[in-house]
Amino acid sequence: MIRVALRGIRAHVVRFALSVLAVALGVAFVAGTFALRSMLSSTFSDIVATTTLGDAYVRGSHEAGGPSGADLSAGTQYNRVPLTLVDDLERVDGVAAAIPDLQGPVVLVGADGTAVQSSQAPSFAFGYDPRDRATHLVAGRAPRDGSEIGLESQTLRASGLALGDRTRVVVGGKIQPVTVVGELGVGAALAGATVVFLDPATAQAAFAPDGDVAHVAVNGDPGVTQDELVQRLAPVVHAADVDARVVTGDAERAQARAQIMSLLGFVTTFLLVFAAIALFVGAFIIANTFAMWVRQRMRELALLRAVGASPLQVFASIVLQAALVGVVGAALGLAGGLGLVVLLRTVLANLGMHLAGRIPVDGFTIVVSVLVGTAVSVVAAAIPARRAALVPPVEALRDEVTVPERSLHRRAVLGLVVLVVGIAGVLVAVRRPDAPRASSWLGAGAAGVLLGVLLVSPVVARSVLRVLGAPVVAWRPVGRLARGNVTRNPRRTANTAGALMIGMALVGAAAVIAATTQASTRAIVEHEATTDFILRVAPSATVPQQALADVRAVPGVRAADAFASGGVLVRVGSGTDARAAGSLAITGIDPAAVGRSIRTDVVAGDFPGALRAGEVAVQRSTAHDRDWSVGDRLTLVGTSGQVPATIGAVIDSPAFGVPLVVGQGVLDRLVPTAQQQVTTVFVTAEPGTDLTALRAGLTDAVRPYLVVSVLDSEQFVSQLADQVNRVLVILYALLGLSVVIAVLGIVNTLALSVIERTREIGLLRAVGLGRLQLGSTITVESVLTAVFGTAVGLVVGVALASTLPRLYADQGLRTLAVPWGSLGLMLVLAVVVGVLAAAWPAVRAARLPVLEAVSVE
């Protein structure tokens, strides 16, 4: 039987080629995801390994807030430690150097006069200490004062500057003319980050003006172990009576690595979801291929049964073929996935984002890829294989082998049940959007609806295709023949279209979400922002304090209200019995801004009053989730201190978009100014000011800072919309893969059904059907299938996405918008896809010799 199985594959290589390709594409995605993850993790591990070289670290003893956005160490943060510790630490026996962490955001002006920045990677400035093991001087010398800088090697190349060149940096909120005096190496690919080195005094003034730093790295003398060092340092820290503790370098590195891994985990999960979709779609193709293959070979299989093969042997032979398809496809996919990552790395390197050189091919990636590919193939082939195994031997003796087409009844009932349950789940979520598990209900419901529609689709295919096919029937005889062919076997048509249906449901949903987000953003800005101009900053940068001062000095400016953000750890209650309630993002504003540049809906309490009184305002959704109300006492813990704050107001403001809002003064006590991030400034004009002149003045004021731009509210909205569109492009690219696989499925089905219908095609040609007419018939079949899948998929996707504004109004999704234009475009795309998919099968069919076709057995 093994030989029969292998011969079967060899005799029909083409027939299996598309299945192999489908598996390969899905597996390529999986393998690529894992390889990308390994590459990213090794890049960031390298950064940790080469930048975190201290033998011991002195840092805060309690957690204080989440990522503030302007710090390399995203993840858990601790309270800051005073610089005064450094001298005490250096006096300890066995300590070679105690180096405070002096880092912060910077803007470097390159040789072309623009800011040096690659893609989305951040820019950092560090205080350079020659004793720091992480950095070494490559050329030139170390910066000595505020008028000199050193540049990391890759940054130096990217900037186009050379040693001795004069340029400017924006550091500590001020513009500084500087000379490049040194090139420094850090011994790791920095993933595109721009790195500038300052002399320690300048860095301290800029990033630790209050005398506190995130940590102090301690290098031990040779022969002193990390543990010994920690034991010697601990009493000193204790004696200094500061809120700090000492950990070993290894512990610090392990923690840094763990944080990176958990961040990468999100990326991996995100990508794997799309890989899973691609594989699911690929499984459809494999199942379809084997189903058709079994159908065509009923007689041969019956003959095998007649000569004594057991049902199990027949089943095993087909499953073996499927496994072979899976293994070959997985091997190709693995190679393809790694190739994809190599390509991605090259592209990123050209864009200035350097990643670690190794493409890690670990055993895990290989095993998972091959297993996934094989398992998907075998599972997909199992159902047709079972059917083949149960062919009665007597079929071999029959003249006309008819495959009993199983009734769709069972499938219809099952599909309806799943569909109804799915709809019920969605309704539960929509009815009670505030329920704690509303999102889970929606997710499960949506999955049920999609699965139910997939199951039911063969039942509805006939009627839907009759409607969709109505316009083409007038094109005789092509239209009628084509419609007849797609409705002849609704199960097959629906399965073929199913692959496209899944992709298009996601595309439709993504399009609706994007349009809704944009419409909602527009509505929010129009509703909440009462400002004349908005200052925005380049991604991952912050508006310098001096720029803010310059803007306020522009004639005609009544106020420039900055929105400064950071992260805090929240405890409920005050004093010792306070309970931790997690890390939350927080924004600080000038209380006077309320009503001046921003109009906020207040649910309870007095918003501006709360801000003036040093109280905290909480978003409605946060208050609801955590059961907080006006008058509750919270303790906010930031990196530079903790502040007890009463909830003074509950607000409903997607414009703030963060759970907590406080007055600027409170934020300054929690997060040092140098660590706050200001992405947006609302500028309000004096009444009667000429706005055109004001805009020119503002533009002049921010020009030296390079990263700040002046927008009116219309531009602001379209800039936010651009961000959504950028995400949408990435989503479309990822979903594109499943659409490509779906197209392969259509090609596959058409090619197989051409083989299956050889005799019918011969007859049609014999009675005078021209080649072009035959090709057109197959093309119309393909287009009908593609449009069917797309139409049903879009309907499902749009319907599901339309429920989101009810659920996520608090996250700012408030105005439902359905992008009919884009959806129409998708249908046009489906027609194009159909035509493309039909090309090869149509040519094959047209080339069939009439006589051979008509007399084929």
Binding site: L764, V767, G768, G770
Partner: protein
């Protein structure tokens, strides 16, 4: 050997040779065939398996290309026509009835009957269609799919399809090969009536003497040559002729 008849020829073959394969493996399926098929007659072509009768019909119908020789159908030389012109020929001037699998399963009986007209985008001659349908007794079957028809009904639909476009000539390849005797009689009777009443020209390949008995004329083929001919045959005379051929063919 050249056959001579009184009527004008609807299709003729001159010195028709068809060789399959090359070199020592070559098979001469047709070895210098000359035939004239008479307009307005039902001609049967008979012969044992491998005699070349099907090949002759395929060459005459433009389904296969002869290796050498000339074929003229309805006044047109077809042996050198392009695929495109051959398709047009089949579409407009030739009708086919095959042994089995004659109908497109997705189309109704009526749609199958008018398929050649649809393909050619010609209008349906309603009166003619009604006449053909009634003659074949298919009126109450027109909306059925082929799967819902009996074998005899399917072949009658195939005959109707072959006739409705008023082709110059209808080729029938073992049209009753898969039918029981009463269905066969119906189909053959109809083919004969289409000649007698509608003036249709029909060529039928068969190995069944009873079927050949319905013809105006029977041509006998053996080893790729025309070896005999019978006018106004009966089943007995066909059997006798076949027996004679067999004796003659014996060394």
């Amino acid at each position: 050997m050249t056959t001579q008849t009184d009527g004008t020829a609807i299709a003729t073959a001159r010195d028709l040779v068809k060789v399959y394969g090359q070199g020592p493996m070559a098979v001469r399926a047709l070895d210098g065939v000359d035939v004239d098929l008479v307009r307005g007659e039902l001609t049967a072509i008979m012969g044992p398996s491998g005699s070349g009768k099907s090949t002759l019909m395929h060459c005459l119908a433009g389904l296969d290309r002869p290796t050498s020789g000339a074929v003229v159908v309805d006044g047109q030389e077809i042996s050198a026509l392009s695929e495109r012109r051959l398709t047009q020929l089949r579409r407009t001037r030739v009708g086919f009835v095959f042994q089995a699998y004659n109908l497109i399963p997705t189309l109704t009986a009526l749609e199958n009957i008018t398929l050649p007209l649809d393909i050619a985008r010609r209008p349906v001659d309603r009166a003619h269609l009604e006449h053909v349908v009634d003659t074949l007794g298919l009126r109450d079957r027109l909306t059925h799919k082929p799967a819902e028809l009996s074998g005899g009904q399917q072949q009658r639909v195939a005959c109707a399809r072959a006739l409705v476009a008023r082709p110059a000539i209808v080729f029938a390849d073992e049209p009753t090969g898969n039918l029981d005797s009463s269905s066969s009689a119906e189909v053959l009777g109809f083919l004969r009536r289409s000649v007698d009443e509608l003036g249709q020209s029909v060529v039928m390949v068969t190995h069944d003497p009873t079927s050949a008995g319905y013809a105006h004329r029977v041509l006998f083929l053996a080893d790729g040559r025309v070896v005999g001919e019978l006018r106004d045959p009966t089943a007995e005379r066909v059997l006798d002729a076949l027996a004679g051929l067999r004796t003659a063919g014996r060394p």
